[in-house]
Amino acid sequence: MADAAGDRVMCHACGGVWPRSEHGLICPQCQSDFTEIVEIPPDPDEEPPSISDRPDSASSPRSAGSPRNPWADHNPWAAPQGDQDRNEGDQPWDSGSGFRHRTYRSPDGRFTFSTTTYTHGFGGQSGQSPSTRSTSNLDPMMMVQNMDNIFRGLTSNYQQRERSASVSSSGQASSQPRGQGQRLGSFEFNIETGNSATSSQDGGLHPRDADGPQPINNPLRTLSDILELFRADLGANAQAAGTGGARVVTGTNPLAMLSSLLSFDRLGDAVYSQEELDRVISQLIDQTANRGAPPPAPASAIRSLPKKKVDTEMLGHEGRAECSICMDAVELGAEVTVLPCKHWFHYNCIELWLNQHNTCPHCRRGIDSPQTQGTSDNPVVIADSPEPVSRRTSSAEANPGRSSQPPPGAWPEQSPSSWSSRSFSSWSAAQDRNNGQDQRRDSRGEGSSTGSGFTGWVRNRLGGGGSSS
């Protein structure tokens, strides 16, 4: 099958790959004509894989011989052979010299992997684990079975990630799920390798014997570093996830991690099982359900809202009014809580609402004052001295913290003419016709007191300040 130079055809329906010369353009597996010719550049440096370069003694460190694919022998779960289901749809395809294309479909059909592996730089030697060799020298089905073991292990592990039990075999691969992050958890994946005989060409990325006992405390440096990055990234994400921000699936899914480790680049951003897809979808639904719903107001902000006795003006023309939350009539002289938008409610009523959302139940304006507005996502930086002129220049881009965020209390004193009409309109579309400074002062009391309005303004200033110059 060492037909590395010929064109191959890949079936998009079943994922199978075959040499074009053998079966033409119609998939021999599923008869689909939804196929693609895949060009595989031949690698002249490749040598056919050989075996038996390794001493049989499993305890001895691996010699220069190593499999092309570092994970080819990977079998951390080392299930007894034959107790794993095999899928008749498996289409392992081994081109021999340096190119492997493999399609794997899990027995229950929940996920399908295809991988194309180019191997060179490993010296063209292949070490087979004793168990593998005992059955077949280069049995693709064995590879598939090993993969199956990995995936089964990972999937079950992932499903049970609340447990902190680590799944490991021979001290080589240990997966330690942690309960980090409410929805997704996180995943630690540590791979240690047994020896370092052939690290000269690949910078430490070398294969290990999955079946034989090996030294444990010899971390695979490069990979560990990568995984460390993964983990740090996850940690940061888990903190940010408190606000329900979207999480990148890649990296939290052990299958995705595995696939990235194994360079399953072809799949790109993908989920690998129906469950995984369902999980992502339901997460998105959750996010959608809560998205846009404003966050709770801090208790201090609720308490500090001004209270007022109802006067005749507040009762309006009809001389009667009600709290629109409890719909009880409010008598003259009753004490109510007034929001910055001038809507007023019973304190007990508005407190209940504000404990859930920091907006006016009537007009949805935020109750936060602009001075305290600002979240970790969108901090407000108060500059010492705003320079209106600089806002019109590209310095807004170079120094956004300073030039594009004037103190809310100070900017109306700046010359209005220095504001471009564009930036003004981005501040508040509703006010863009009010060009008189007096009107603008008036409107500021309203506009700047709205949380979303102000943050929106800051955002617009940040986003548009640089480009408006």
């Binding site: 846009g292 719903a293 629109s324 939350i325 209940l352 609402w353």
Partner: protein, 154 residues
């Protein structure tokens, strides 16, 4: 609980001066949180002459959380799920759209308005929405047939 007081008040208002084409009563006199709503199909809509039974369910956190509206009567409508739930997708009832100052009378009137004017762009039944946009005559025909089949008594 304050919510009961408000609910009772709204219920009283709705029973006293019910909006056009809408009748409301409690499903169970001892439970303020589940209402039976009978909604007449708006005139000049394929739902005309039909009476649709809806259930309005109020959360205990009402009015801080939105109520839910579901059709007990099968209805062929882009914004009502064609399953045993009969969920109606009302924008104002979404968590981020809901305001405590919205009244149930307004919710029900809005629901009835949706019968008169479906919003295919916010559809929950995409197929019906497609038909509504692409083959309105056929949509009307089916909706009318369903109305006759499921929503007309006697």
């Amino acid at each position: 609980m304050g919510s009961q007081k408000r609910i009772a008040k709204e219920l009283a208002e709705l029973t006293e001066s019910a909006p056009e084409g809408i009748t409301v009563k409690l499903a169970d006199e001892s439970n303020l949180y589940i209402w039976n709503v009978y909604m007449e199909g708006p005139e000049n809509s394929p739902y005309q002459n039909g009476t649709f039974h809806l259930t309005l369910t109020l959360p205990t956190e009402y009015p801080f959380k939105p109520p839910t509206v579901s059709f007990r009567t099968k209805i062929y409508h882009p914004n009502v799920t064609n399953d045993d739930k009969g969920s109606m997708c009302l924008g104002m009832l979404r968590a981020d759209e809901w305001k405590p100052s919205s009244r149930l009378a307004a919710v029900l009137q809005f629901a009835r308005q949706l019968l008169a004017e479906p919003m295919p762009d916010d559809a929950v039944e995409g197929r019906i929405a497609e038909q509504f946009k692409g083959d309105f005559a056929r949509y009307e025909e089916v909706a009318r047939e369903w109305t006759r089949k499921y929503a007309v008594r006697g």
